[in-house]
């Protein structure tokens, strides 16, 4: 019944590259790819020529050279005769340290602040709101400077602790010293030490290892004990009181291990110009940590607030009507739902904090940027290598954090739905 010509058999024509939806995409992509590769190639070519002209071909062997500078705040052994590579490692660990400390502190403060922000006490919630508005509308770099200068200007100098007419004194039974060079905390010491375990790059103290193993063992046993209690509860309805048993399971072996190794506390003491002994958190570390924490906290407060507010009022009313107490309502009903909103925002704040920790370079905290992108770069003149490495390391950290948190996020989501 059709009087139409049958459809023409199409053979490939050049114009199809432009007008055929199947090929058009390919044309565009090839064009884009060529453009992008072309410009990248051009840039790389320029870099190669320029570096060759300067006599600085891209090589990473400077990492093996002697660094010959000192770093005061460090998590692993390092001295000025070590290599630049090791200095970079010290810097990386310092970056991770301050990022970790910052994330923990900002999360704790942020959650508290977020809850206070929603408090029905007008004054408290206003105060938190004012805090948020002040701190997040001023650049974080300025906060870092302010924190750093607050410490150096307000905390006493070590020499104020000296002499008979000392103007400053140590806290907590002479075990903590707050100075404008940092805070000195008591350190754990062992009179029957077990030595160090050489892990190649750094040494791990065996005492610490033993303590960790004992602690994890205890926690694991306590969890098993809880699981047993749950089983019993499910079967009989009565839950055996596990509190004391758990405390014992965790604490007793720990105490035993501490006693066996001859644990005692080493207090910092003023010797010469500075306090000696104890764990030292240097002023730049504290300044950076405070600055990052105070700034990031505001964002976490907002995240927590919006998360909790995203759960409708009906949910808490329903829980109340069922007789759940406010605390339980929060932990069983509100938080599990609010976390869905909060966690993604937390991820990005953790990422931001980690990236912002690079501002360490402004106050002399020896993080990755100050070592690799600072002194090492300056003393060796390897800009290209140092900065590319710097970016690659940060990129890796970022990708790892977001991957880890996304994994957690999907887990939380799965539990919900």
């Amino acid at each position: 019944m059709s009087d139409m010509t049958s459809p023409p058999k199409q053979s490939f024509k050049f114009s199809m590259l432009l007008y055929d939806s199947r090929y058009r995409g390919i044309t565009i992509q090839i064009f884009v790819l060529v453009m992008v590769l072309g410009s990248l190639g051009w840039l790389a070519g320029n870099a190669a020529t320029n570096l060759a002209a300067l006599g600085k071909p891209l090589r990473f062997d400077f990492l093996g050279d002697t660094a010959s500078y000192d770093i005061s705040q460090r998590l692993i052994d390092y001295k000025s005769t070590d290599s630049h590579g090791r200095a970079v490692l010290v810097g990386l660990l310092n970056t991770l340290l301050v990022a970790f400390m910052g994330c923990v502190a900002a999360t704790i403060l942020g959650v508290i602040g977020g809850v206070l922000r929603l408090s029905n006490n007008w004054l408290v919630s206003r105060l938190v709101a004012v805090y948020v508005e002040i701190f997040r509308n001023i650049p974080v770099l300025l906060w870092i400077f302010v924190c750093m200068f607050t410490i150096t200007a307000i905390a006493p100098q070590p020499r104020d602790f000296r002499g008979d007419n000392a103007t400053a004194s140590m806290l907590l039974n002479d075990s903590v010293a707050v100075t404008n060079r940092g805070i000195y905390l008591p350190e754990p010491l062992f009179s029957r030490p077990l030595g160090d375990l050489n892990l190649g790059i750094f040494n791990m103290s065996i005492e610490l290892l033993v303590l960790l193993v004992v602690l994890f063992g205890g926690v694991y046993a306590a969890r098993w004990n809880n699981a047993r209690a749950n089983r019993i509860q499910v079967e009989t309805g009565d839950r055996p009181d596990t509190t004391w048993a758990n405390v014992a399971i965790i604490v007793v072996p720990l105490l035993a291990a501490l006693l066996a190794m001859g644990f005692h506390i080493g207090k910092p003491e003023l010797k010469g110009f500075n306090f000696k002994g104890g764990v030292n958190m240097s002023a730049p570390l504290i300044g950076l940590w405070l600055g990052l924490t105070l700034y990031t906290t505001t964002y976490i407060i907002e995240a927590v607030r919006s998360g909790i507010q995203s759960v409708s009022k009906g949910q808490s009313e329903a829980a109340f009507a069922l007789g759940l107490r406010p605390g339980r309502t929060m932990s069983l009903v509100i938080l599990p739902q609010a976390l869905r909103v909060i966690i993604p925002q937390l991820i990005s704040q953790y990422l931001n904090l980690t990236k912002n920790s690079s501002l360490a370079v402004a106050i002399g905290y020896m993080d990755l940027v100050s070592t690799l992108g600072g002194i090492t770069l300056n003393q060796t003149g390897r800009e290209m290598e140092a900065i590319l490495m710097l970016m690659a390391i940060y990129l890796t950290i970022s990708l790892l954090i977001s991957a880890g948190m996304n994994w957690y996020n999907t887990r939380v989501k799965l539990v919900e739905r």
Binding site: F320, A321, L322, L324
Partner: protein, 249 residues
């Protein structure tokens, strides 16, 4: 239908304001154990507010509310006690979306009544069967239809084995078919002798189940009576007007 002489809820001269707005005015109401009361009235007349005061989701400012012999004050212990005895079924269900149906039902018994989980689950399944959705127990609220959700909400409050149930327009958001299902469930409960306060405009339900119908307007109880009397022979002008609208509709 037996109504005992014991008093379940007693509200005396209760007044409540929202800011300057006088929502509830001189409410006096005595509910006996086993009584089933339907509350009707135009929108905004304070029906929800009144029943929310009974389990202290709202605070009243004057007068007293005594539930099961315990007076509602700001004493937290009393509030907890009363809330665990009074079940409430919300207009919008307010199911917990992150928990399965079964978990929704066992949450309060386990944490408030400290019932062993197994027992709590058995009770929950019992009530889910009663509302005819035992097979949905492991789904999440979002996966159920409106009528099913409403029934879960009823089951959830029943799992606490409350002595008193408050229903706030349990059918307003449902289509006719589902309304019937939900009301059937409630009628069944009623027949077991539970004390019930139900805000509803389903007059069929009121006729069939209620001992008493209360009509509210402008925050006050305007008329109360047995259903027959109430519907056939309303006394106040306001009630007459309202009934003419509802019945004609």
């Amino acid at each position: 239908m037996q109504v005992s002489k014991e008093v379940a809820i007693e509200i005396v001269n209760m007044n409540k304001w929202y800011g300057q707005f006088h929502v509830l005015r001189d409410i006096n109401l005595t509910v006996h154990k086993g009584e089933r009361i339907v509350i009707a009235g135009p929108s905004g007349s304070g029906k929800s507010t009144m029943i929310r005061c009974i389990n202290r989701l709202e605070e009243h400012q004057q007068g007293s509310i005594i539930v099961d012999g315990t007076e509602l004050t700001s004493d937290l212990k009393n509030i907890d006690k009363i809330r665990s005895e009074v079940g409430m079924c919300f207009q919008h269900f307010n199911l917990f979306p992150h928990l399965t149906i079964l978990e929704n039902c066992t949450l309060a018994p386990i944490w408030v009544r400290k019932v062993p989980k197994k027992e709590a689950e058995e009770t929950a399944m019992h009530f889910l069967e009663k509302v005819k959705i035992p097979d949905q127990a492991n789904k999440f609220p979002g996966q159920l239809s409106g009528g099913q959700q409403q029934r879960v909400a009823i089951a959830r409050s029943l799992c606490m084995k409350p002595r008193i149930m408050l229903f706030d327009e349990p059918t307003s958001a449902l289509d006719p078919e589902m309304i019937k299902e939900v009301l059937d469930t409630m009628i069944e409960l009623a027949e077991e002798g539970m004390t019930m306060l139900c805000v509803t405009h389903e007059m069929g339900f009121a006729r069939q189940v209620a001992n008493r119908v209360i009509f509210m307007d402008q925050g006050q109880i305007v008329e109360q009576n047995e259903p027959e009397e109430f519907f056939n022979n309303p006394k106040s002008e306001r009630t007459k007007l309202f009934l003419s609208q509802i019945l004609g509709h």
